[in-house]
Symmetry: C2
Subunit: 342 residues, 2 copies
């Protein structure tokens, strides 16, 4: 990506093993994340360009000498952040804050994953192999979502401690919001109110467990949710937009003692947290970058068994060479989420 | 209170039963809250004055015809907010947000509790009787703290879900911060770092379970806590000051995936909540007005058995007529907390 709206595919030198803990993974499927749209819409022009992409299902091509848990030929899921998975922070279950870990797609020696080959640092702490699935499986899209989008929806519901019988409101009908609907249903939420206005998306939300859809926004949307909840509001609100109006909508619809769980990087720094917004009604604010690695081992069998089908978020497929079409379609909201084939 | 620095004692008409759910309580002990110091320092001049005070241990003088759980002669604790204790919000355990409840000491027909007599609305939902204790008991100060200060410390630790083995940092050595130390120790916190610089107070904190005291503030204080925690920070941070620098200190010392629990009304509305402060490391922000009523039944036996002695926060006693001396002493930090006798 060279700047806003400018994504192109270039041939760069193949990544190589730099540390004995590295692995080289050949991409089988990748995809475009809604978070990739932030720079796609606002990045300043650069001459060097930055590698981009951080969602990857692939096959191990080569493993460094210290790697013991995956080997060449394994189909693996690469979480959007790498981590050692052994330190205190990882053992707490917050691998995205691992002091030895990092994020793909930043300038530097670890490239983006919208690419044929990727170097994965700390492969033992990052990659998880998927057993008995080959590259022709129809489950590949759902497995790919475990690198980020589905488990990001899951994480936000997990941080909010969604429990059976609760009401969960999801602000935003993007792929992560819909994933949060699916995850909340898995956790036993009784009522799931999806706030969104794109019918194809909210229809998928209904299939995944949304019991109500609210198209209105702002004060009108808040009132609709209050009307649906006897004036009490929702035990949990998943804020899956990342902009301040969605945050404000969230504290408008959350029940006293409830939780706002944010997902996606907030595109603001300061926000209301005082008596009127959060404190006065004991509202908890939580959420952050999904520690995918903490959840992968439990989630893979759910996909393999068919218990969940999160790959349905993909409504467009492009070959890597055509990835700019995927960005453009997602930017215009013509595609919910675009998968990349190789 | 007629304005900043101007507290006086006046004879007003006795409160009377206005609703059949009311009770009239004669004060045995009351006290001055650190939150009373906010208007004491900043309130604009008024001609009418406002009644003040919201911490009360007293004896029921008269009960309305619909009151069934307390009767004249009972020694009762009056939480700092009244509530019906039957609605959905109360049953969730958030009685301070009860839609039928309210707070004492605001202008209106419910007065303050730094007074000889108080009208308690919704007496069944608000008051809890203390069995087998008379007005000469040495336990009166500790029982009084259950109307607010100790249980406010308890609530903040409870909302943060302090659990055995955790590290808890408490920012602020006021009466609520010290109460949070005591509560965190009751919940099994292994290490409790008290951030404060008033030696008499931090000494009480040590007696109550603080394992470390950090007198430094700001960046220096943050670094000290990180040094004490292998660079990881504290699982839970209790922010018991209410001003923005304490909030900023809190996210500086909290561990990835940890919780900041605020106590006392924040004296700011907007604060940093973006990637750098909360989101990037999955920090949870929680806390709010303590629903005292939710905890009273469990806390009273702890005081009666001597398991906790939260009344030690009182280091000055005044008769009601001298309450202005208590305010002044607390304002000058000569008194940690002043109890009022009748």
């Amino acid at each position: 990506m060279y700047g806003a709206g400018d994504v192109c595919v270039e041939t760069r030198p193949d990544p190589t093993i730099l540390e004995p803990t590295d692995a080289i993974v050949r991409a089988v499927r990748a995809c475009v994340c809604s978070s990739d749209l932030h720079p796609y819409r606002s990045m300043g022009r650069t001459d060097e360009g930055v590698p981009i992409g951080h969602e990857l299902l692939g096959v191990v091509e080569e493993a460094g000498s210290a790697v013991t848990t995956v080997r060449p030929g394994d189909l693996v899921i690469a979480p959007f952040a790498w981590s050692d998975n052994t330190c205190d922070v990882c053992r707490d279950g917050f691998q995205t804050a691992c002091p030895h870990g990092g994020f793909y797609g930043n300038p530097g020696d670890v490239g983006g994953q919208q690419a044929e080959l990727a170097r994965i640092p700390l492969a033992d702490g990052s990659l998880v192999a998927v057993p008995d699935v080959d590259e022709s499986s129809p489950l590949l899209p759902s497995l790919l979502t475990l690198s980020d989008v589905y488990l990001t929806g899951y994480h936000t519901a997990h941080m909010a401690r969604v429990s059976p019988g609760q009401t969960v409101a999801v602000v935003g009908d993007g792929a992560v919001g819909l994933s949060a609907v699916l995850a909340a249903r898995q956790m036993g939420a009784e009522r799931i109110i999806l706030m969104g206005r794109h019918e194809a998306r909210t229809d998928l939300g209904r299939e995944w467990g949304a019991t109500d859809v609210v198209a209105e926004r702002g004060a009108e949307g808040v009132q609709r949710v209050l009307d649906l909840t006897d004036g009490l509001g929702s035990h949990v609100v998943v804020e899956a937009v990342g902009h301040l109006p969605a945050y404000e909508q969230s504290y408008g619809v959350v029940r006293a003692g409830g939780v706002i769980s944010r997902v996606g990087v907030p595109q603001y720094d300061d926000a209301p947290v005082g008596f009127a917004s959060l404190f006065g009604r004991n509202i908890t604010l939580t959420g952050g970058p999904d520690p995918v690695r903490a959840y992968l081992e439990d989630a893979i069998p759910q996909v393999l068994s068919g218990a969940i089908d999160p790959g349905r978020v993909f409504d467009k497929a492009v070959a890597l060479d055509d990835i700019a079409d995927g960005y453009a379609a997602m930017d215009r909201r013509e595609s919910l989420k675009t998968i990349v084939t190789f």
